[in-house]
Symmetry: C2
Subunit: 303 residues, 2 copies
């Protein structure tokens, strides 16, 4: 197993993903379900070592650059939020306490916005990665997920952002609510119908949701159509509320498939010009950009 220059890590609430790199070339990749949510403070270093120990050299310190919820107050080390407007990366990274002398772990701070109150942890790194690959880009980034983020970027800075609970709501409703009896699978037609209804009358969301159950009971509606419609209703309502973000803007979607395509399709019906970008690639590019910001003495020793 060849030793790496540095390690990139995306450490969220439910998952840990790591990459071992030489320069910008990925040599190794590993992942586990040891997310921040299931670890106590002294559990982080062992969870990391389980995945990366075999990539480390015994004769040099390997920097590890980390983004995500691992930098929250309940995480490994708190990396205090930086206030917008600001560049997506900047300020000192937070150094996590390590016993293993081969590791030097640096955590990227999230961003905060005073009004309306909002926070980001993890997506700032994807924004930075996107700007590295698209220098000078001005517009709006849409990062769908458990908590969808809309981010207005101008002159290399995050100007403002807004978080929507859309993904978490979809998971709760489709898995834990009365609607779970009526939804399963995915059928495109339902999604388009849901988006149109959610966009047109977003204020009727709480009533439309129950109609998914009632249509299942009374009309024997296809559960695959119903599940796609549920997703469409929520995304449509999000788009209606996010209108100040996308109206008259170019929108770059950073996300995983198939969710990124669903958002692209929904925005397409509004004639918004859209490009899509792979979330993992943007995360890696952002972590590399953060690595380059380390003080000279801390930077990876490129062999």
């Amino acid at each position: 197993m060849s030793a790496v220059d540095w390690i990139a890590a995306d450490w969220g609430t439910s998952h840990l993903r790591v990459w071992g790199l030489k320069g910008d070339r990925v040599l190794h990749h590993a992942a586990s379900d040891q997310g921040m949510g299931r670890l106590t403070r002294d559990g982080f270093e062992p969870a990391l070592l389980t995945l990366v120990a075999k990539w480390l050299s015994d004769t040099q310190v390997t920097p590890v650059i980390v983004c995500g919820m691992v930098g929250s107050r309940q995480g490994w080390v708190e990396a205090p939020y930086r206030g917008v407007p600001c560049t997506p990366l900047g300020g000192p990274l937070a150094q996590a306490p390590c016993r293993d002398l081969r590791l030097s772990v640096h955590v990227i701070p999230g961003l905060k916005q005073a009004k309306p109150a909002d926070v980001i942890r993890g997506e700032e790194t994807q924004v930075a990665g996107f700007l590295t690959q698209n220098p000078g880009w001005d517009g709006v980034l849409c990062l769908p997920g458990t908590h969808s983020k809309w981010v207005h970027v101008s002159a290399g800075e995050v100007v403002s952002f807004q978080t929507f609970l859309t993904g978490e709501m979809f998971a709760l409703l489709s898995e834990a609510s009365v609607l779970r009896h009526s939804v399963a699978g995915w059928a495109e037609g339902g999604f388009a119908e849901g988006v149109a209804q959610g966009m047109e009358r977003p204020e009727r969301l709480l009533a439309r949701l129950f109609s998914i159950r009632a249509e299942g009971l009374l009309q024997g509606r296809d559960p695959a159509e119903a599940r796609a419609r549920l997703s469409g209703l929520l995304i449509g309502a999000e788009l209606a509320a996010a209108k100040p973000y996308w109206l008259g803007q170019q929108v770059a979607i950073i996300g995983a498939e198939p969710l990124a395509q669903h958002y692209a399709q929904a925005l397409g019906t509004l004639s918004v010009p859209v490009t899509t970008h792979d979330a993992t690639a943007m995360t890696l590019a952002g972590l590399a950009a953060a690595c380059a910001l380390l003080p000279q003495s801390e930077r990876p020793c490129v062999n």
Copy 2:
């Protein structure tokens, strides 16, 4: 233990409540958590007998009148929905299969509406109870709960109704979502603020929800205020969508405290004339009205 003329039962997804009556006088009351959701078909009779066996006479058949989810396809016996417009009670009750000869169990059908698709099971009995006590009443009934119902009543009939997922959404968000870290207790000020925001911009619901989390993190906002605000946001959004129901109408709220008072307070800010009525009392009155509809041979034998 004195024998009863008849037994009233409210059998929902999560609970069973029974009353033993002589005429309209309640002699006994009992309850258990043996809701429809945790029983298979042959579990219903034993669950009922556990609570009521000691009220039964060995020398006569005691009628049991039941409302709620026990009449759904997954319940004890299916009591097919009746289509609106129609009186809240009517048609034959569904007879549940019993081995114990002392029991004769009759289940009240729910109501269905074709467009928009919607269903009711249980609340039709409260509506019937309310109309028994307020004959000739025309207007709108609001029945807050896990699934809030708005019911338009005219000339003794249910004309139309609409279900909102408000209560279930509140439970999921406050107990199972990321917001659970930021909400606990209840502080009035937060409720009024939430109602105003939910009413004014219901389409921003998915974004406002996350702001509850962000305000907790950034501003250390009081969790009691945050929880009341969450409830207010959802109820405000419901009221905005239910406007065609309450606008220019008198509204009677049928619910349990403190929820009924919260709805009364929210409707009060809209200058809607409101009365509140105890849900259990309406259920009992409705079950009594259903009992009176039984064929002569089935009616309780009043000693």
